[in-house]
């Protein structure tokens, strides 16, 4: 019985009904990963330890979690003890962490099996997975097309049905945009919902871990396991974590959905617009009603983000200096030479670009004009959201202005072209709000994603709205042909 394209809920039933054993399921996953090796969604496989863990997981334990025996993939910026963690960068190509990230540990403690580490944009900087040192990831829906980024490997692995779910991280859309491009569901939780301990930082005040899965329900299962306060991350929230499955079936009668006036959808591809209108109708039929809302400062999200994120990244990536871990250049004259050569040879172009921008934005004479200014505008953006959520429950936008594009077709001449891909996703990172992308059809045989943004800590509403949508449509069931792989 094939396990490809099965959701966690389905695999759980198969395991519980003894249609398959945990070790068999894990081996199936490894086999699928091998079969679709050409997708290039994995950087490192965890065969030895994964097999061992699958052999020892106790499914008969009365307290066994929903995730017991379920194979998962981890984005390669979560540190995993004894298992290579690269951030898809040459500078970490041989890094074996001596500890495991809290988010991964919680999933493994729940009995899930890590089968490997997924490819990504180098240090999560990119929207197409084309900045990886380990090569491009193909979109399972179309060879030679990007899966989106930065969690491109995770999205492709789930989309291709190799694993039912995977972890990702989202700094400006890095879970939601690849989920949209690969036709799966991806959730960026509230900032602080999941511990950042062991997650290699890109931009500390924006980074947030989250799940990518085939359904909203599966995202809820992962979120249940990953959430909660961690004393090792003092920016992780100590608020109570609800059971995200509990209210997932609530009817949507009376749900108030805001449509953001400032996002002019008429500029988008007419088919992308059409999908959006179709989904609005589905929600209307489910009892939701729509209101147009104004977030006057939201158009400033992209420049705000591209000031703050590089600034934080320029500092966060200073620790990669060739001294204590990571790549170290040879033939060096002195300490400065060691830094310059190790970093210049170890980092790719996009990472360098962002470090340089951030260094500039923080330097004397520019700090106020760029960095501080952006943090002020950030407050204006957050105020807009706070204001709007007084009157609506959730906001709805497309996840991305476009579908997946061909390798090497965007941002090559002008990096800003690619930055604008993040237009719809970035503002929720700036404000720390939860947001989800769910598939809602295809345009030219490539998936399109619908984004819902929720109020602070209201992942429950997003998961509920997404789940009901998926109960009443079958977009999330569409499978890529995997032609040519």
């Amino acid at each position: 019985m094939s396990v490809q394209f099965k959701s966690i809920t389905e695999l759980r039933a198969m395991l519980d009904n003894k249609l398959i054993s945990a070790p068999e399921l894990t081996q199936e996953s490894f086999q699928l990963a091998k079969k679709y090796k050409e997708l290039n969604c994995f950087v490192t496989m965890n065969e030895e330890l994964g097999t061992k863990n699958a052999n020892t997981v106790d499914l008969n334990d009365k307290n066994a979690s929903t995730l017991a025996g379920i194979p998962l993939a981890q984005k390669d910026l979560f540190c995993t003890e004894g298992l290579r963690t690269t951030c898809s960068s040459k500078i970490l190509a041989n890094f074996i962490p001596p500890y495991t990230a809290t988010a991964v540990k919680k999933l493994e403690d729940a009995g899930s099996i890590t089968i490997g580490k997924t490819n990504m944009d180098e240090f999560a900087m990119g929207s197409s997975n084309e900045t990886s040192y380990f090569g491009n990831v193909h979109n399972p829906w179309k060879k030679g097309y990007v899966p989106g980024g930065s969690s491109g490997g995770s999205a492709a692995a789930v989309s291709a049905g190799i694993v039912p779910a995977a972890t990702g991280t989202d700094t400006g859309g890095s879970i939601r945009q690849p989920a949209a491009h690969c036709g799966i569901t991806g959730l960026k939780p509230t900032y602080g919902r999941i511990s950042r301990w062991g997650m290699i930082a890109f931009a500390s005040s924006l980074d947030q871990a989250g799940p990518l899965a085939r359904t909203a329900e599966d995202c809820a299962i992962l979120l249940n396991a990953m959430s909660g306060h961690d004393s090792k991350d003092t920016t992780s929230l100590s608020s109570n974590v609800p059971d995200f499955l509990e209210d997932i079936n609530q009817p949507l009668d009376g749900l108030k959905i805001g449509i953001i006036k400032e996002f002019d959808l008429s500029d988008l591809d007419s088919e992308v617009q059409a999908r959006f209108e179709d989904s609005k109708k589905i929600y209307e039929n489910l009892g939701a009603h729509f209101v147009e809302v104004s977030l006057p400062n939201i158009s400033a999200s992209v420049p705000t983000y591209y000031s703050i994120a590089p600034a934080e990244c320029s500092s966060n990536l200073s620790r990669f200096d060739g001294v204590r871990f990571g790549y170290r250049a040879e033939d060096i004259d002195d300490l400065n030479d060691l830094y310059i050569k190790s970093r210049s040879e170890g980092f790719g172009d996009e990472v360098k670009r962002r470090i340089l921008i951030g260094t500039y934005a923080l330097s004397t004479g520019y700090y106020d004009a760029y960095y501080k200014k952006a943090q002020q505008v950030r407050r204006l953006i957050k105020n807009d959201f706070d204001n709007i959520f007084q009157s609506v429950d959730i906001l709805m936008t497309p996840t991305s202005p476009n579908t997946a594009f061909k390798f090497d077709s965007k941002g090559m001449q002008n990096p800003v072209e690619l930055y604008l891909e993040d237009l719809f996703t970035i503002s929720s990172n700036l404000a720390g709000l939860p947001a989800i992308s769910i598939p809602h059809g295809q345009v030219n045989s490539l998936p399109v994603g619908l984004q819902l943004i929720g109020n602070f800590l209201r992942e429950d509403q997003l998961l509920n709205a997404s789940h009901i949508f998926q109960q009443n449509s079958d977009f999330h069931l569409a499978q890529p042909s995997l032609e040519g792989f």
């Binding site: 962490p97 500092s315 620790r319 001294v323 204590r324 871990f325 923080l362 700090y367 960095y371």
Partner: protein, 475 residues
């Protein structure tokens, strides 16, 4: 030309917390290399800091002691620069909102006191240590010290000589040890300073170009380094040249300062608020609690020693000038009633011994209990003061108590009048010519008889009894 020196000091005080400022690794000194290092201190990818509140409490205690304003909302910032022993490529420090603002410290000069104003004091983490001369061609990095909490105390440029700078550092040392915010161990780097030195024509309003001498870690070096730098700068100015603004290092082996090579490139530290740490808020209650638990400071101790214990002003001052001496005295006072004898001993024999050995009283074999016992034995005339000194010498090299030493060496004083009389009679009988001379007016010979008695009793005879019986017998 009359020149005027302007000095500002940045003092780094290592706070005596058990764990680091942003991790729970030990801060113990002297551990083997890279063992007091955890994931956070190593700056591994993916790690996050968390704040040690005890460091805040110690910083606040310091702030309250110098009458400063305490910033109840404290923000940490990142100071970005590359250095081999700076694991993250940035130091977490406080830029805009230091925990302590303002305040002042009084320093003691030869015949007067001077108030030096404090600009600010902020918390920051220390870097690791680079060892440059142990391995051919390499510097070796030890991260044990990385992340140790420091309080950087910045003075106003109100210090006008090397002597004043030393007095300032001594006052600082006394204060931070008294407050128990630091062990003040300068040899271990717990208290060190950077000196900003500039020279101007007397009467000029504007400051001259300054140089910064980094990392001076003894009172002696502070004086020497600053004096060297003052002379160097005056020479430059008198030659009509200009002082270059730069960072310099004091080389004690050559007694000179020289420019620091590793700092030759101008840096831009790109400070920004540390996004991994939210603001730390200190409540009014927490500050009140720190006030309530405030330790007794030197001035208060001095008054108590004079008022309650009846010590002289001089003795009170000497004992309270050092926290460790005062602590020792306070502990011993609980075990003896003869405070003045105790204070005499502390200031006399004991201080002389400690100075000779160059150790702190708490690092010696002496304990308050044992010293109090010694004082009590002299006080109750079990032994004479002279025997006391030989017992003290023994105490310095062994772990025995005075009683054990008295017992094992049979040093108990002979106070039995009958026994003393017997010995005196022996002495008188054996020295008839001296007796005759004494009785004919040579009063000085009295000492001779005392000496003979002491010789026969190996110094154990009670001197008072010997005196009175001798006088009686030699009539």
């Amino acid at each position: 030309m009359i020149w005027e020196t302007v000095i500002g000091l940045e003092t780094h005080v290592q706070l005596s917390t058990k764990t680091k400022l942003f991790s729970r690794a030990s801060t113990a000194f002297g551990a083997s290399p890279n063992t007091n290092v955890n994931l956070i201190d190593c700056g591994l990818p993916g790690v996050l800091p968390s704040v040690n509140k005890e460091a805040f409490y110690k910083a606040i205690r310091f702030g309250l002691a110098i009458d400063a304003k305490i910033n109840q909302t404290s923000i940490f910032d990142r100071k970005n620069y590359f250095y081999a022993d700076l694991p993250k490529g940035y130091q977490i420090t406080q830029m805009d909102l230091p925990i302590v603002l303002g305040g002042s410290i009084e320093i003691l000069l030869d015949d007067s006191a001077k108030t030096i104003n404090i600009t600010r004091a902020h918390l920051e983490e220390d870097a690791g240590k680079s060892i440059h001369d142990e391995y051919e061609g390499f510097s070796a990095i030890d991260l044990n010290r990385a992340g140790t909490p420091l309080l950087e105390i910045v003075s106003e440029p109100e210090i006008s000589s090397a002597k004043e700078a030393v007095a300032y550092m001594k006052a600082m040392h006394q204060l931070v040890t008294y407050l128990d915010v630091s062990d003040g161990n300068m040899a271990q780097g717990s208290l060190r300073c950077d000196a900003n030195v500039s020279i101007r024509k007397k009467g000029d309003a504007e400051l001259g170009t300054r140089t910064e001498i980094k990392n001076i870690n003894s009172f002696k070096f502070i004086e020497k380094a600053i004096n060297f730098e003052i002379k160097r700068q005056i020479k430059i100015l008198e030659n009509g040249e200009k002082v270059t603004q730069e960072t310099r290092l004091y080389d004690s082996s050559k007694d000179e300062t020289r420019p620091m090579r590793s700092k030759e490139f101008a840096n831009d530290y790109r400070y920004f608020p540390e996004p991994d740490l939210l603001p730390v808020i200190i409540s009014d209650q927490e500050i009140q609690k720190i006030r309530d638990e405030f330790p007794e400071l030197p001035k208060e101790k001095e008054a108590r020693y004079q008022g309650e214990l009846g010590l002289s002003e001089y003795d009170s001052q000497i004992i309270s000038s050092s926290k460790s001496m005062a602590d020792f005295f306070d502990a011993a006072v609980k075990k003896t009633k003869n405070y003045s004898l105790l204070s005499n001993w502390l200031i006399g024999e004991i201080s002389a011994y400690l100075n000779k050995e160059q150790i702190d009283i708490h690092a010696s074999t002496l304990t308050a209990d044992k010293v109090a016992m010694l004082i009590n034995r002299i006080d109750d005339q079990t032994i004479s003061g002279k025997i006391g000194k030989s017992i003290f010498e023994e105490m310095c090299v062994s772990r025995s108590t005075p009683d054990e030493i008295i017992e094992s060496k049979g040093l108990k004083q002979i106070s039995d009048d009958g026994a003393i009389e017997e010995i005196i009679m022996t002495v008188i009988n054996e020295n008839p010519s001296q007796v005759e001379a004494y009785l004919s007016g040579k009063d000085k010979l009295f000492g001779f008889f005392v000496g003979q008695v002491m010789k026969l009793t190996e110094g154990k005879a009670n001197p008072k009894a010997v005196n009175s019986i001798l006088k009686d017998k030699l009539k």
